[in-house]
Structures are given as C-alpha cells and as structure tokens.
C-alpha cells in the first residue's frame, strides 16, 4: 500500500516537473513546514562519530557539507536537511540504523559508511529496494561495486583492491623478492592484502607469509618477532587509525624499519603520520590522494578546509567533498526532483568529477571511481607524492552484473 502511493506521488511530481517547470514543481512537493516552500532534500548520513574511526566520520561529514555550502547550500535549488546517525562501527546495528534512515526519516539520499562490514549490510537492504540512492564515501569492500552492486549504489572513494594492487608492483620495482603481508583480519585487510599479493607475485615476487591480526587488536610484538625471524625483503601492511599509529611506531621500535622496508595502501600513514612521527619517515604507500598534489583544485580545497575546520584535510575529507560534488551534479541535472530516480542514476553513472582534489575521475559501470593511484612517501610528517603508481585504475568489479 505505502509503496504504491509513494510511487504514484513520484510520478505526479515528475509529471508536474516536466510540464510546469522546476519552480512550480518545488511548490508541489509535500512539506511539513509550510505550504509554498519546497521541502528540503533529506540527506541521511550513517558514519562513525565515536570510537576509533570518529575522525573519519567527521572528516567526511565536514567536507560534504563544505562542498554543498560552497555551491550555495542547495541541491538542485532545494535546501538540504542532513540527518546524521552515529554508526558506532557496529555491524549488528547497521540494519536498524539503515532502516531508520530509509523508513522513518524517508531520506532522499543515503551517505555512508566507513566500515566495509556495515557497507555490506547496508547494500543488502538498499540494493533490492532500488531506493534510495546510496553513496559510499569510504568503505572499500570490493563487493559493494562487485557481487553486491546495484543501480542505486554508488561509491566516491575506492574499492579495497584499488589502492593495494599497485603496491605489489612498487615493491617488485624496488627490487624486493620476498614479502610478508600483515593486516587486520576483516574485509578491508583481507581484500587489500590479496590485491597487493596478486600484483607482487605477477611481477616475480613471493609472499612468504600472510599474517592476520584479530581486529581490532593493537598488540603487535609477537607478530613483529615473527617477521624478524622470517627476514623477508619487505613487509606489506594495512592498518588504519589508532592501529596504524601503533603498528608503524612498534615496527620502528623493534628495529625492523631500516632492514625490512614497510609498504602498504596509503591508510597506513594517512591522517596519522603526525602522530607516527619519525617512525613513519620514508614509508612508501599507494593511495588515490596525496596532500601535495599539484593542482589548483587541491590547493583551494585544502585551504578552504583548513580555514573552515582548523584541521588538515585528508583522503577521507576528499571523499566527502566528492560525494558532495556528485550530489550537486546529479540534483542540478534533474532540477531538484528527487523522485526522478532513474534520471539521477543515469547522471551519476555518467559523471566525471572534474574538480576533485585528487584529480579528475570518472564513474565506472560498476559505480566505482576510475582514478589515478599515487605513489607517496612520508617526508617530515607529510605524505608527499612521488608519482603515479597506476593511471586511471579501474576496479575489476568481479561478480557485478552491471560491469
């Protein structure tokens, strides 16, 4: 019943939009505030605002709002209302939170999450419903734009495969023959290590041991002793947040840093290299962003962000910023008609984000960015770009019927 009446309302709005134009359509959109004023576009956000990954949630939200505010604070001419929920990084709570945003808040767009496990839980709810449009601003779970891909699910960040795959070649190019991989044992860690290994072995290397650390454990001594006794040429690693700080520091304190160089997807040193201090100096990582990318878009973005929030921008804020850009593009194209889901999807599908701080990128058929992956090295606490590790890298989108 409910579903039927909703869809007829959408048709009605769409029809009005077509005939009477946008301004008129605005006044016909039902609103609970005042008749004659367009109801705001509801953007539901499900991100972590507490716990270890709180910094990520805040960075994404800040930059998303900054992007939309810079464009006048409106999406397709309509005001924006944000409904943000703390995901608490809890996978069991993900279905409840998702349903709350979809059914109770009736959001027009769903932005989230950070955690791959939550992403999978959300995608399983949002995908089969074909609504609302979900934009993933971080979680890299390969399946989101792979086996779980759906027309209404988009990603503005990366797939786990993307930042890790080029890292394998970087290690091989540096002349390393053997490597130990070490990462947290959950979606992101497992998928990234597999991608790095794939490319390292393709270029003649050999992964001699795959160490999986229970998530979110941060006591690494036993593993470091194991690495020291194996003596590989290099170590390939994924940790993030507080775990990344501690792993990189412990790695250096165990005396391994100079004899066995550390590599990994850029999260190892992203947003945390200041806390890591000297222990991170010289570590090479691969990621779809670097702080000193030489473009006006990046310089302006960093200056604006610093000014607005008093903190340095990082890759997470870039992803939030681009989520804003994607929303702006799509909503401008349909003139603010959130009922025109099909049109919104087709605009997003063909989107190119030209003014992204990370450099221009294009949406793939599986709805994941086709983007450059940069090789970066930590110098004086900053991730500085050394070059492009992989140009226009597209995720293989294994298992996605749309690709």
């Amino acid at each position: 019943m409910t579903k039927k009446s909703e869809s007829s309302r959408r048709h009605f709005i769409a029809g009005v939009a077509a005939t009477a134009g946008l301004a008129a359509a605005g006044s016909f959109v039902p609103t609970r505030f005042a008749i004659g004023v367009a109801a705001p576009v509801k953007v539901g956000i499900l991100l972590p605002y507490s716990g270890t990954y709180a910094m990520l949630g805040n960075s994404i939200t800040n930059a998303l709002k900054m992007r939309i505010d810079q464009a006048g604070g409106k999406l397709g001419g309509r005001a924006v209302e944000y409904v943000a929920l703390d995901s608490e990084m809890s996978v069991p709570k993900a279905p409840t939170n998702t349903n709350k945003l979809i059914k109770k808040e009736k959001v027009d767009f769903l932005v989230g999450p950070v955690h791959s496990g939550i992403a999978a839980a959300m995608a399983k709810i949002v995908g089969p419903r074909n609504a609302p449009i979900m934009i993933v601003p971080n979680a890299g779970h390969n399946g989101i734009t792979g086996s779980l891909c759906a027309p209404n699910i988009f990603r503005t960040s990366f797939s786990n495969w993307q930042p890790a795959f080029p890292g394998g070649k970087v290690m091989a190019d540096d002349g390393h023959k053997t490597c130990v991989t070490i990462a947290w044992k959950y979606g992101a860690g497992i998928q990234m290590m597999a991608a790095g290994k794939e490319n390292f072995e393709k270029h003649g290397g050999k992964v001699v041991k795959d160490i999986q650390v229970p998530f979110p454990k941060v006591e690494f001594q036993a593993f470091l002793s194991e690495i020291a006794s194996i003596k590989p040429d290099a170590v390939f690693s994924f940790f993030s947040g507080g775990g990344a700080v501690k792993f990189v520091k412990d790695y250096a304190a165990a005396g391994l840093k100079d004899s066995i160089p550390l590599y990994g997807p850029g999260f190892l040193t992203e947003g945390v290299s200041k806390a890591q201090g000297a222990a991170a100096e010289g570590i090479k990582t691969t990621l779809h962003y670097a702080a000193n990318l030489d473009s006006d878009a990046n310089r302006k973005f960093r200056a604006d962000y610093e000014k607005a929030y008093g903190a340095s921008a990082n890759v997470f804020s870039v992803q939030g910023f681009d989520t804003g850009s994607l929303l702006l593009q799509a909503m401008a194209a349909v003139g603010g008609d959130t009922g025109a889901t099909k049109d919104l999807i087709s605009v997003m599908e063909g989107a190119t984000i030209v003014d992204s701080p990370r450099g221009a990128w294009k949406m793939s058929k599986a709805h994941n960015p086709i983007q450059d992956i940069y090789l970066r090295q930590v110098k004086s606490g900053e991730n500085l770009v050394l070059g492009v590790a992989a140009k226009n890298l597209e995720d293989p989108a294994t298992g996605c019927s749309m690709a």
Binding site: A54, P214, A222, S229, I260
Partner: protein, 288 residues
C-alpha cells in the same frame, strides 16, 4: 620455532602480561573488594592517556606529567565514588553496570569535546629511548622493559599495601564483612572511597605509562576493558596475586596462540578462560 625465537616470544608474552596486570589490578581491587562492576575502568585508562598527552604539551617530561596527572585522577575517582557509586552499594549489580556504562559514554563524550577525534602520540622519554639488540634484525625497546619494571614495583607495592598495612587490614575487613567492620569503628565509607580512587588511578596510570607505546586515540579504553575482565575472572575476583598470574597466563597464551595457532588467534584467550573456569569456577586464586 628455534630457541631464540621461543625466548623472544616468551619475553613478548611476559611483557604483554605485565601491561595487562597494570590495567587489571585496579579492576580486581574495585571488583573484588567493593563488589562494584566498574565498566568505566577502560574509560579511566583512556583518560590517563589523554591527560598525559595534554600535560606533555606543557612540560615535555613524562615523569612530571604522570606526577601531576595522578592526583587529578585520584580526585576524579574520589568524586565519582562519593557522588555516584556510593549510592549503589546496597543495590543490585545491574544498577552499577548501568551507572558505570553511563560513565563510559560521558567520558568518551568529554574526551571528544576536549581533545577531538584525532590520533595523538606521546614521545618515549629520551633517557629510555634506547633499545636492546636481540637478534641481527630485531631490537627490543628499553621503554617496554622499563614498563615491566614498573609493573613489578606496583605488584609488590599492592601486595604490601593489602597484606601488611593498617589500611590494607581495614580494606580486607570491609570486604569480608562490612557491618562488622563498621561496628569495630572502621569508617567503611572512607575506606571504599580510597579503594575506588586508587583503582581509578591505577587504570589511569596504566594509560599514562602505556601512552608512549600505545598512542592515544578515541575508544582505546573499550578494547582494554574486556581483556581486563578476562584477566580478573581467571585470576579470581579480588585477588591481586590472581590478577598477576592471570595476566601472565593471558599474555603468554595470546602471544603463543598468535604464533602457533594463527587461525584461532582471537579465541585462544577466551578458550583459556573457559578451561580455567571449568576447572576452578571461582578463578585461580578466588575464594569459593
């Protein structure tokens, strides 16, 4: 595994055990003696780490930061006991769980307001910044050995405090029979306030001396809380000796579990706990 690796891993396990003991000792003190299930123990640990990070901004000297930070945490513990915990001694454990869970939320929010959600680190004091060579590839940070030394001192200190001093006698008397102790003229309210602030300060102290190797970040206390409860339950509730043995057991089991049974690394600790409880439901040194 050759002998060298075995010895190094043993060292890792023992060292981890010391760290666990440092956190768990305060918990067993409060849990065992006062019968309070203090879920906020991890929050105190986190608070200790953040306070040291904050004070290091002014002094650059870890020793001074700890010496200034400890009285702050003693006061925090005292105030919480006086104005919150003390009303719940006669109530069911569920009320205490609710209250201390609430405290976690409050402290996490305060941490976010004061220090934000960024990751911080505290430098290792330069005097202890060196390292000991173990093998040609691995060295061992002196600071980790120093922490072990501190833990041994704390363990000995608590053993003496509980077993050999007048205050310890009052604490033990209050723990075994509160009414009788009161009849004999012991001010139990004051004794419990002291125990609680000591427990809070111990947790914070663990966060403080651990900060240089653990780094400082939101949610750091939640992770330490569960493993501390495991240690306390294995050792026997309220037993300092038990907490020590339990911590060592867990430290070693965790370390060797990860190396020898990597696929089961995350359950080894809990399997050990289950086995110990099957054998001795009251814990290794608990009173039946």
């Amino acid at each position: 595994m050759d002998l060298t690796t075995f010895l190094i891993q043993t060292l890792n396990g023992v060292q981890y055990g010391f760290l666990l003991f440092l956190v768990a000792s305060g918990l067993t003190l409060i849990f065992g003696i006062m019968g309070i299930i203090n879920l906020a123990h991890g929050a105190f640990y986190m608070l200790g780490a953040y306070i040291v990070y904050w004070l290091m901004g002014y002094t650059d000297n870890l020793l001074i930061a700890v010496l200034v930070g400890l009285p702050i945490m003693l006061a925090v513990g005292y105030l919480i006991e006086r104005f919150a915990i003390s009303y719940l001694y006669d109530r069911d454990h569920l009320y205490q769980v609710l209250l201390t869970y609430g405290l976690i939320l409050i402290f996490n929010e305060l941490q976010k307001i004061f220090w934000g959600t960024d990751f911080y680190s505290v430098p290792v004091p330069s005097v202890l910044g060196g390292s000991v060579t173990l093998t040609e590839t691995q060295v061992y940070p002196v600071y980790r050995l120093f922490i072990s030394l501190i833990c041994m001192t704390i363990a000995a200190g608590m053993y003496v405090l509980i077993g050999r001093t007048r205050l310890g006698m009052m604490i033990r008397a209050g723990a075994s029979n509160r009414e009788m102790a009161q009849v004999l003229g012991i001010n139990i309210g004051r004794v419990f306030a002291i125990v609680f602030s000591l427990g809070a300060a111990l947790a914070a102290f663990a966060g403080m001396v651990g900060a240089p190797i653990s780094s400082v970040y939101p949610g750091m206390g939640d992770q330490i809380l569960i493993i501390s409860f495991v240690v306390v339950v294995i050792g026997g509730i309220g037993s300092i000796k038990g907490a020590f043995v339990g911590a060592m057991l867990i430290g070693l089991a965790d370390t060797f579990g990860q190396v020898l049974l990597p696929d089961f690394a995350s359950v080894v600790v809990y399997a050990v706990m289950a086995l110990v409880l099957l054998w001795r439901p009251q814990g290794l040194f608990g009173k039946a």
